[in-house]
Subunit: 307 residues, 2 copies
């Protein structure tokens, strides 16, 4: 059976309450699957696997459908949608969780619709590693599986996370998570520890400082797109991952050259995402906007050599 | 009169006592002028303007002369050389000063030898802004003047620093200094505040996270060369500045394309410098080593586009 979508994203769908130094917004659409699907949608047909409550409105659904995101894998359960509340301090570098209400997410058991099981690209967004493993058990030999995680799972579910890392093509972490997971201060050493576990690639995100893609053959380092201001950094890593996998899915390849170009696109889409709260910027973005900013990024980083 | 050197560096020459998580070294050669001159020497004839005491040995002199650094501008005074003692903690990101003994540096008044006054390139290394202004008063219409500074002078000598910034072509600061000096959290905004004061370029250093060159026309962003380990980060910014200006001096130009290439070289030379204490690595480095690492850096950052 032909897959119904090019890539599947499993993750959280949330209604977030977020306070930054300049604004506070209540119960706005968020979650790792939301950001990743929206970002991927500019490049490929993304299918979302997640769970929401009855407070997930028709408006939310229309937003995703407008982007071309397939919601067949989105379960609706009696109860409230996962709610996260957090505060960003000063220069957005410190984030403090005020409350986490799991709600319907507490009993989430991701089930892939039949049309999703043969999708060639899979993003295991940041959720419990046990659920990521449960999804891995449902897919048929995908071409490329990418997993994201967070410090919480390093602290509380390391064994399951180890198994996830052994079974994926690419694991993505931020710099502090890479250090915490491996106990190595040097990111180059930390990445090698993770590569030795099995994945072909380790993608280390450094927020405003860019990212690094480690492979057995070498490393690709990329600065971030420079923005004047950030409105809300929530979901930046998820948009980054979603756009990256979307470009891979659109190209049909997974070679180094495609991955490097995909990271530039990921960079640019993530930069758009943080210019506004929630999916506000991503939901009005066009492919032309993205291409224009990719050109800007290339100018921002180009060095002319004689040879 | 033809200048005796291609570029002049004014700054500190020090004997540092440095402790890192892995080693402690006493009274090793350091200082902003030392690192900058050593780094510049691979590309151009650098002349050092500084002061040392009678504990500055023939061995130190031989090291600089072996690199081709001109020491005519190095004053020797009765007393001890400037001594800085510091400790780097954990992942080298926190540096704590244990003691600062100015010694002969307390009465330093930089005087340029006649053969230095017409040098086309000038680096005002990190010293009191008043001394930087005193040097500026001695030079004859240099083609390009670059100034470095630090948080101490922002706190204690802001007026003089303002004057320095108004009179140079390029001011370089690290990210926290850019924020502190301008009161702007956004580095893009901070750079514009400084550009509005007069310099054509603002170079913001972010250590292991790379650097950004702001000009009125745009910005160039560059990741750092990725190292497995850092032995001693002391002097990295000075080596960076020295190599950058050395490449400019060698090219004879100051256009954007030359500056971008110069920053890649600066990146690479600074990365060599931090692989060992003091000038140990820089003093054994060859131009071939540098070119090989420039090629590595280009591979590390290259993206293949169809157009």
């Amino acid at each position: 059976m032909n897959p119904a979508v090019d890539l599947v994203v499993v993750g959280s769908v949330a209604l977030d309450t977020i306070e930054t130094p300049v604004a506070r917004r209540e119960r706005i659409l968020g979650g790792s699957a939301s950001y990743a699907c929206a970002a991927a949608s500019f490049f490929a047909r993304a299918g979302m696997v997640g769970v929401v409550g009855t407070d997930f409105t028709a408006e939310h659904r229309v937003l995703f459908e407008g982007l071309g995101v397939d919601l067949e894998g989105l379960q609706v359960e009696d109860g409230k949608t996962f709610h996260w509340s957090g505060v960003y301090e000063e220069n957005m570098n410190n984030r403090r969780t005020v409350s986490t209400d799991l709600n319907v997410f507490a009993d989430f058991s991701p089930e892939l619709p039949p049309g999703y099981r043969s999708a060639p690209y899979l993003l295991l967004g940041n959720i419990q590693p046990e659920l990521q493993l449960h999804v891995l058990d449902q897919v048929e030999t995908p071409r490329f599986v990418m997993a994201d995680t967070m410090n919480l799972w390093i602290d509380t579910a390391k064994d399951a996370l180890d198994q996830v890392i052994r079974r994926v093509h690419l694991i993505t972490v931020n710099d502090s998570e890479a250090r915490e997971y491996t106990g190595e201060d040097s990111l180059a050493r930390a990445a090698r520890v993770m590569l030795d576990m099995g994945p072909r690639h380790v993608l280390v995100k450094k927020g405003e400082h860019g990212s690094m893609l480690f492979s057995k053959d070498g490393v690709f380092v990329l600065p971030a797109f420079l923005l004047d201001d950030v409105a809300d950094p929530t979901g930046a890593g998820d948009s980054f991952a979603g756009a990256f996998l979307g470009v891979l899915a659109a190209s049909g390849g997974t070679d180094e050259a495609v991955m490097r170009r995909a990271l530039v696109y990921a960079n640019v889409v993530a930069a758009f995402g943080v210019e506004a709260f929630s999916l506000e910027r991503l939901s009005t973005l066009t492919r032309d906007d993205i291409e224009a900013r990719v050109r800007q990024f290339r100018e921002m980083t180009a060095v002319a050599w004689d040879d």
